[in-house]
Symmetry: none
Subunit: 258 residues, 2 copies
């Protein structure tokens, strides 16, 4: 589980990202999952203004820093992890699928207060170059589907960052879930009604079958034991049982008035 402090020790480093709306999407995903430190490596000025229009991303973008080269951008980091789509090149690095990479990154962050982790993403078109990959301790990849035409799909930059940060923050979700569990219990967790309620519903349903002539039309469906099983097969919430009884009673009342 990553603390707020540890989340703050992760840098997302975009190398040669070209599209301002992608940078905006990256910033938004960072904001969504609680990350804040964005670094952009580019040889030319980045149009942050265009990216700043991205919803919810303003805080992250306001704090973003621009670097002229990758070495500077990761200088203070104790672990540098590159992201790559597999199959594109001869990898000289250890490569982990994201689900295995995330716990290793969390372990590094929790290892020491001085830990700083950089997560590198390459340009939309070419990914990270071999030179850029050489700055990394190891690499991670998001496992994707290999299609019949043997093309390796590549991910949209904003989506790739969102998936990686989701996985990194993932374990932390367990704790928040506990808080939410109480909230959810009311509408969600089904409590079965007592047998007496199910039996009452069965009786009412049998009466409806008789009064409507259903039992003449479908006699094979109307054996009381069969109807009892039918009612028990519906996984009914206890809170709903009175509603169903009310509906059946209203039907009988209406039919009785004839």
């Amino acid at each position: 589980m990553l603390s707020q402090l540890e989340l703050g020790h992760v840098c997302v480093v975009l190398v040669r990202a070209r599209n301002p709306s992608n940078i905006g999407a990256v910033a938004r995903a960072m904001y969504d999952f609680g990350f804040s430190r964005l670094r952009v490596v580019n040889e030319f000025p980045v149009p942050f203004e265009a990216a700043r229009s991205a919803v919810d991303a303003s805080e992250v973008l306001a704090g973003a820093t621009l670097y002229a080269n990758l070495a500077e951008a990761v200088a203070d980091c104790t672990l540098v992890v590159g992201t790559t789509a597999v199959g594109e090149r001869d990898l000289q690095h250890e490569l982990l699928p994201l689900a295995e990479a995330a716990p290793r990154i969390r372990a590094e962050l929790q290892h020491s207060e001085a830990s700083r982790v950089a997560l590198l993403f390459g340009s939309e078109k070419t990914g990270l170059s071999n030179e850029e990959l050489s700055h990394c301790n190891w690499l991670l990849t998001i496992p994707m589907c290999t299609h019949e035409d043997a093309r390796h799909p590549s991910m949209n930059l904003g989506q790739a960052v969102a998936v990686c940060l989701y996985e990194l923050a993932r374990e932390q979700q367990r704790s928040t879930q506990d808080d939410q569990a109480v909230m959810n219990e009311a509408p969600s967790v089904a409590v079965a009604p007592p047998a007496a309620s199910l039996e009452r519903i069965t009786e009412l349903l049998l009466q409806v079958m008789e009064k409507t002539g259903y039992d003449h039309r479908y006699p094979h469906n109307c054996d009381p034991a069969q109807v009892r099983r039918l009612v028990r097969r519906i996984g009914m919430d206890a809170v709903d049982a009175p509603v169903w009884m009310g509906i059946l009673r209203q039907i009988l009342w209406k039919l009785g008035g004839q």
Copy 2:
């Protein structure tokens, strides 16, 4: 572990998505993770052409189908799961964080060859409406960071879909254990009826409520969305659905004869 066949039994349903580039991003994420069935619910024609420019998404977009309403779009589905950002509204449904929702969806897919799962995403601005949520069996949410200003972040549509599909396709090795655990929890469940049957039962029940005067006596129980949820809460077997429809039709026939 989801097979190719099972991946093909998942429909991603976009409800009132407005931005073609978002639809393109969704299609690309689907392609990346091996999903293929895209359904779009919109009252007006969708500019698929604009979305088709999205890289790698052409196959998915070519097979996308357009629906005028949500009920039709999920009619053949045995499980309908809505996605929501928490905190926005009073939820009437069971709500699971994505990491817990995914094994449950996989269990449904592996349960029967007739299983079809719809994953619903609302419009970029408003998400799914309460009426739209009422078509769902339960809901999932992507846990996000709550910020100090107490604003609940919302995710970019393309990123939300990418994260959900990543998690669904995620545990190719470990998933079998998780799936079995969930499946055993509900030992009695046979095959769920398709959404179209539940919708038909909802319609019949609403007619019964009206014809019997139940709607005058208990108007607070008769909102269509509420009745739809009531019907979805009963965990009904597919084989029983025609029986319930037959009973309701017989009631209506009898009432109509007055």
